[in-house]
Amino acid sequence: MMRRRVDRLGRIALQAAYRCQGSAPPCPVVFASRYGDVGRSVDLLDQLARSTPLSPTSFSMSVHNAIGALYSIARGDTSAYSAVAAGAETVEAAFVEACGLLSEGAPEVMVVVYDEPLPPPFQHFPAPATVPHAWACRLRASDGASGYSLTCHASTGAPDTPAEDALPEEFAVLRFLVSGAERFEHHVGPRLWRWQHHA
């Protein structure tokens, strides 16, 4: 009965979360989306502009943490859930948040990343998602022998090398995580996020 409340973005995000969680015990979850379910807000604003009553369901689901909240309610799970949005650094912000939770003692943290193309009139916003997508992973503190690290440095500008593949930017971190590559550098304004894989 919960599924009726969520639209496409919520459905793909929750599917990723359910599949990743599987039968693992409840753990803190970080939901990360650059723009979230902005289509709902556009609908609500449109209804306001036409002075028609707002849909209570849409209103209740229009906040950034609504999808995560639904996951919590549907599963009766009262673990710590958060929802982050940090522009082009949304995935990095989610992992920083997850590392904070791990350092506070959580044995495992799940990160769920999701976005979809922006509806009119927001298509001109910077770097909207090119396709609806969602992915999730579970993080544990490293035993020291292997794992990943994420560090933030000052950037002197992105290197001028043209990207050779056609994979949209939104998948850069996911590709790094599954590719086994040693390093991925993400330049965002004055910052450089360095992802490293320590085998």
Partner: protein, 86 residues
């Protein structure tokens, strides 16, 4: 009245996006909320809005009255037929 009950069942299903439920699956005398269909307070607000848009009926904020009107599809049909403006 039976036609109106059928109409309201369709309205409930469409408004609340009840997937996998057909009008005939809804017992007109069964409770809509918590038990029966299992709807909740957000559904009540959404349904109230849909009834207002469709039939021009206005629900007062008196919760006791509303509880009675929203008890079942049959109760809603009775309320709508008594107060409808369209």
């Amino acid at each position: 009245m039976q036609a109106l009950e059928q109409e309201i069942k369709k309205l409930v299903i469409e408004t609340l996006n009840l997937e996998d439920i057909q009008p005939d699956d809804i017992d007109p005398a069964a409770p809509l909320f918590v038990e029966g269909l299992g709807l909740d307070s957000i559904d009540a607000l959404e349904l109230g809005l849909a009834l207002q848009k469709t039939y021009g009926v206005v629900l007062a904020s008196d919760s006791k009255e509303n509880r009675r009107h929203f008890a079942s599809v049959r109760a809603l049909a009775g309320f709508v037929s008594a107060h409808r403006k369209s």
